[in-house]
């Protein structure tokens, strides 16, 4: 498609985003304001992630998009097509083959490599926003490293529910300085935030970009007597039998039958191709 500049955005916009990414990498976990553009998709559909991807992609890249772990949902398919059309990049559903991965709300099960980049779509980048609605105040709290309110919130979870009930967008401390929202990934994925790949976060509506360089210390907030726990549904995958992957629960009928399947479709497919079978695998194949 020659009607568009490479990767859709104009060069000046890409430079502005690129400068923000570099500052984000220099101050891990700090949210860099940027002049987010309108994209040809609604807010909440990954406009931030798309802008970061557009500024990051080169024609040599292989691009993968996942939405809640799945390569084949509407959001993932349309963003993948968007960059096939405007950037002419190769796309893939295989985590192994991708060099840039845009994700909504999951980190792939396969361990990411040094030469990979993962771009997160972020709805609300400010971890303190639901505790303090004023941007002027949350900005001051970050500058003063004043995160007591977040610990009070986690404490109230414990006093009300007996455990920290936050299950996704679980706050983390990055490089001992900034509390960061890892985007609404399940807390099962939090330990993977210390990875070999470069992690970039884009929030289009909220106009923020932030980043976590490889091998950066990322600690999920917790208490000594209530340590952080990465939880998942206590089942194996019903299709591939994996016991180590994050699962989605699928209601099968009105009688209350349900199945658990890997949320990472590529991981599940590659396991099934390798011959692994879950409880409902036969039935499903028939």
């Amino acid at each position: 498609m020659n009607e568009y500049n490479f990767a859709y955005l104009d060069e000046q916009t890409k430079r502005m985003i690129r400068r923000a990414i570099l500052k984000g990498l220099a101050v891990p976990g700090y949210q860099v304001p940027f002049a987010s553009r309108e994209m040809p998709m609604p807010y909440g559909w990954g406009t931030g992630g798309v802008q970061v991807s557009a500024a990051t992609l080169t024609p040599d890249d292989t691009f993968k998009v996942i939405d809640q772990g799945a390569d084949d949902t509407t959001n993932a398919v349309s963003i993948r097509k968007f960059f096939e059309n405007t950037a002419g990049v190769e796309t893939t559903e295989e985590t192994e083959k991708a060099t840039v991965i845009q994700t909504r709300h999951r980190i792939p099960e396969a361990k990411l490599r040094e030469d990979q980049i993962i771009v997160y779509q972020v709805p609300i980048p400010e971890p303190l926003r639901f505790l303090e609605p004023r941007e002027t105040e949350t900005r001051k709290m970050h500058s003063l490293e004043e995160y007591g309110l977040m610990h009070v919130k986690l404490y109230e979870d414990i006093s009300q529910h007996g455990a920290i009930s936050t299950a996704y967008a679980y706050p983390v401390m990055v490089s001992d300085r900034y509390v960061m929202d890892p985007s609404p990934i399940p807390k099962f994925d939090n330990p993977k935030l210390e990875m070999d790949a470069i992690q970039l976060f884009g929030a289009g509506r909220e106009q923020r970009i932030y980043a976590v360089p490889p091998h950066t210390k990322v600690v999920s907030l917790d208490f000594e007597d209530y340590p952080f726990e990465a939880t998942k549904a206590d089942h194996p995958c019903d299709l591939c039998g994996a016991e180590d992957s994050y699962l989605d629960e699928v209601i099968m009928d009105d009688a209350g039958n349900r199945m658990f399947v890997c949320s990472d479709t590529d991981y599940c497919r590659s396991r099934r191709e390798a011959g692994h079978k879950g409880r409902l695998a036969e039935e499903n194949a028939a």
Binding site: M16, I21, K23, T58
Partner: protein, 191 residues
């Protein structure tokens, strides 16, 4: 020949070359101690290929650039202004500064950001005679265990890192090679 150097030396295919150049710049900023090739642009002497390419990739009318010492020539000013539209400024207002370490002068002259907006700090492009993975020992975000990089002035860069989360960020350029040092990196002299 002034006119020729002013109009030449830009990207031939800006979107693609800038994308490759940014990936190299991003990779080194995310992995302090790594050295990458950065080419595509050619600024007039005395700027290196890597420094010229960085300016083309990151600067535009929204950024203020400080040309330090020998980099501040008529030819460089005209080239920068033609290709990027960036405004020239004093060190104290610059978003980007280019020059050798001694020409760039004391780091106190540059913006280090504010506690609420640490991103509003200068990025210095330091021209070096040598660039190698030896010398100062680096630790911190982006580094698995430790890395090494030849740095021009360890005490000054340690003082900059001590300002974290404020401080300047650095690219080191030598020919078509580039490395970077964000403020988050802890530096110690090689034992």
């Amino acid at each position: 020949m002034t006119a020729q150097s002013q109009f030449s030396g830009g990207f031939q295919n800006a979107p693609v070359q800038a994308a490759h150049a940014f990936r190299a710049a991003m990779t080194v900023m995310a992995r302090p101690g790594e050295i990458r090739t950065l080419a595509g642009g050619e600024a007039p002497q005395p700027l290196s290929v890597a420094a010229g390419t960085l300016l083309l990739t990151l600067c535009d009318p929204d950024t203020k650039v400080h040309l330090a010492g020998a980099a501040n020539t008529e030819a460089v000013r005209e080239w920068l202004s033609f290709h990027t539209g960036a405004q020239l400024s004093a060190a104290s207002e610059a978003d980007f500064a280019v020059g050798t370490w001694s020409e760039l002068g004391p780091l106190g002259a540059y913006r280090i950001g504010t506690s609420e907006y640490p991103d509003r700090s200068a990025t210095l492009i330091v021209e070096c005679d040598v660039l190698q993975q030896a010398g100062a020992q680096l630790r911190g975000p982006g580094i698995k265990d430790t890395a090494h990089l030849s740095l021009p002035d360890i005490p000054a860069l340690q003082a900059n890192a001590a300002l974290y989360p404020l401080g300047c960020d650095f690219f080191f350029t030598c020919g078509d090679q580039v490395a970077a040092l964000p403020r988050s990196t802890q530096i110690s002299a090689e034992a």
